[in-house]
Structure formats: structure tokens, C-alpha cells
Symmetry: C2
Subunit: 217 residues, 2 copies
């Protein structure tokens, strides 16, 4: 009788023999181990045995929490988006317009090691999504939300006078999103922490283009 959710457990009250592990939490632990393995060994090295080992368990221990490998991977991939969105929500909180847009992009760009690792996870995800409609749908939905956010920030920035480009917002949003996605590739394939392609400068430069303003001082 596996796969009970946290809420189910709690609501059960005083049971004959209470559960010892919180299944929801355990699933997150396993996802974390999966991320570490993918970042370190690549998706090809992410076998059930290796993931279990990384999480501190034996081969078959994942079964009760994820009935199949695909279930585990899909959950793990989905949570990359979740985590990014949580971070984004935090840094954009209370902001609107250009500041919000800048914060959004700075949070999505792979500017530190943690987010470079996320790039090393999302690329295998894309590869799997190419031939897996269910995974492609996860991507599509997230990107749709991101596009909507960007468009809103752009509209606000226009009202504030920070954006006055002669290009419609939907097109700009598409450009920016593609830039953000492309940056993941460069970061994931970069040899070491060297060779920073100046992503922050690219972002500032792009925002400058949107302002269609005069050369800055």
C-alpha cells in the first residue's frame, strides 16, 4: 500500500502502526539524488541502481515511491521547473515592469553553479521530450506561463516608459525566451567555470535595445 500522500497519513490519526517515512518527502529526496546524478554523470549514468546508491539505498528501494523509472524522471524534471518558478516568484515579488523583467531573466539565466547544473538537467529533459509527448507538454505549459509573464512585464514597462521599441510585445517575449533557452546550452556545454559569455551583459544590452534610447552616459 505505497504512495500514500502526506495528508493521507496525517488524517489517518492514531493508527495501529504509524508510518515511519513520509512518502512525499522521500520522493523529493529521491528527486534530489536524481538531479545530483544527472549533473555529475549525465542522463546516461542515471540508472536506477546509481540513483538508489546516491540516495543511500539499495537497488529496489525506489519502487514503492516511483513504480517506474519514467515516473521518477518525469517527476524530477517537473520539479526543476517548479523550483525555478519558486525562485522567480520570490525575486519578482512586488516588482513590475522592467525591474520585474530583469529579475525574472537574471533568475532564469545560468549565472551560478547551481543553475548551470539545472541546465545540465534540462537539456536531457528536452532530448527526452522530443519523443515523449507527455514530457513535451510539461515544457510547453511552462513556456506558455513564462511567455505570459514576460508579456505582462513588457506591457507594464511600456506604460512606465522603459520600453518603446517598435516591435510588438509578443515578438519581443519570444525573442527573450529563446535567448534564455539558448543560454542554457552554452552554459551546460562550457568546459569549466571559465569562458563566461557575458550573459548578464547580454541581458542588459537587450533591455537597452528595448528602451530604444540614446547611448547611455
Amino acid at each position: 500500500m505505497a504512495h500514500k500522500s502526506l495528508s493521507e497519513n496525517i488524517s489517518r490519526g492514531v493508527a495501529a502502526v504509524p508510518k515511519i517515512v513520509d512518502h512525499d518527502e522521500r520522493r523529493l529526496e529521491l528527486v534530489d539524488a536524481t538531479w545530483r546524478i544527472i549533473a555529475r554523470l549525465g542522463i546516461e549514468g542515471a540508472t536506477m541502481r546509481e540513483i538508489a546508491l546516491e540516495a543511500g539505498f539499495a537497488n529496489g528501494a525506489l519502487k514503492p515511491y516511483f513504480p517506474t523509472k519514467d515516473t521518477l524522471l518525469e517527476f524530477a524534471f517537473g520539479h526543476v521547473f517548479n523550483r525555478t518558478n519558486q525562485r522567480v516568484a520570490k525575486v519578482t515579488e512586488g516588482k513590475t515592469g522592467l525591474p520585474a523583467l530583469r529579475a525574472f531573466c537574471l533568475e532564469v539565466l545560468p549565472l551560478d553553479e547551481e543553475r548551470v547544473n539545472e541546465a545540465r538537467i534540462v537539456i536531457p529533459f528536452w532530448q527526452k521530450a522530443i519523443n515523449d509527448p507527455q514530457k513535451a507538454e510539461i515544457h510547453r505549459q511552462s513556456m506558455e506561463e513564462w511567455l505570459a509573464s514576460i508579456r505582462q512585464y513588457l506591457a507594464e514597462a511600456r506604460k512606465a516608459g522603459d520600453v518603446s521599441a517598435a516591435v510588438d510585445d509578443a515578438t519581443l517575449a519570444g525573442q527573450l525566451l529563446n535567448m534564455l533557452l539558448g543560454a542554457q546550452i552554452g552554459a551546460a556545454l562550457a568546459a569549466g567555470p571559465d569562458a563566461d559569455p557575458g550573459l548578464a551583459d547580454q541581458l542588459e544590452g537587450y533591455l537597452t535595445l528595448l528602451a530604444r534610447g540614446e547611448p547611455q552616459p
Copy 2:
């Protein structure tokens, strides 16, 4: 004694028993079959058996031409860049500045089915390159060349007055390259031929931003 090159064969003159297949050409045939398989079944379905079958051969027939699967894949991946660069050279021939830049981008963007299939090949390549320095180097080198081309086109366009953005060319080139790479993701994961994100419009919009000009007529 496999892996003789075409030139070697020809220069051998009248031999006891002339070779029947051109090894170089056969390798290209196999690469083509590999592309088709990856585009149709994904990189996971690209087993030696499946590739051999697609090329019209039995299981072990690839051996004399590619001693190992990795050799085959690396050759196949490298040729995607080759082919793209050949197409790019053709469409930019005689052009400079903004027209050259536009032609370059239009050729790299996944605007038709053939290039969407190439996107479906390059994403698995990126995934493999994450944990394979040799493949990452193929990517790095191609991107360096592309960046150099873009920078040159930008410089020419500036001279011609088509670009007057208050952002340096290296940064602009980085932006544009990332946009082009990001576009591959969207195209490869798009469900059908529907849902075109308006890549051509995005490109034109970006070039408009570079002009920093007034709204077009």
C-alpha cells in the same frame, strides 16, 4: 584493411581487384540513415541494428566503416554542422552587412521540416556533449565561427548605417546566437507543424531593434 579514403583508392591505380564500394561515400550513406533514425525514433532508438536496417544492411555491416558506435555518432553530429555551414555559405555568398546577417539567421532558424529534423538531431548531440569533452569541442568550435561571422556582419552593417544600437557587437552577437539556439528547442519540441512561434518575425523584430530606428512605415 578498412577505412581507406577515396583519394587513396583512386591513387592506387590498377589494382589486382579494385574496390567496389567507396568508403567515404558509404560513411555518408550511413550518416544519412543515422539522421533519419534519430529524427524518427529519437537518439534512444538509434541502435546499431536499427541504423543498419535503415541503411539496408545487416547488423554487423557498419563495423568496417565505423569501428564503434561513438565514432559513427560523432561523425554524424559533426556533419550536421557541416551541412548547415554549407547552406549558410551558399545563401550569404556575395552578401555583407545586414543582408548577410539576415540570410545567415534565416538559414540557421528551423523554418522548414528539414531544419526541424536537424534540431531534433542537434539536441541529442548537446545532451551527449554535456559529458563528452570531444563532442563539446565540436560545438564550441562551430559556435566560435558563427560568433565571428555575426560580429563581422554587424560591423559591416554599422558602417552601412543599418545598425546603430548602443550595445557592442560582441554582446549583440551573443544575444543573437542564443536566440538561434533557443529556437531549436522550441521547434524540436513543438507538437506538429502547428504552433509556429513566429521565428521569422522574431528575427525581423530583432533587426529592427538593432537599427534603433523609427517605427517602420
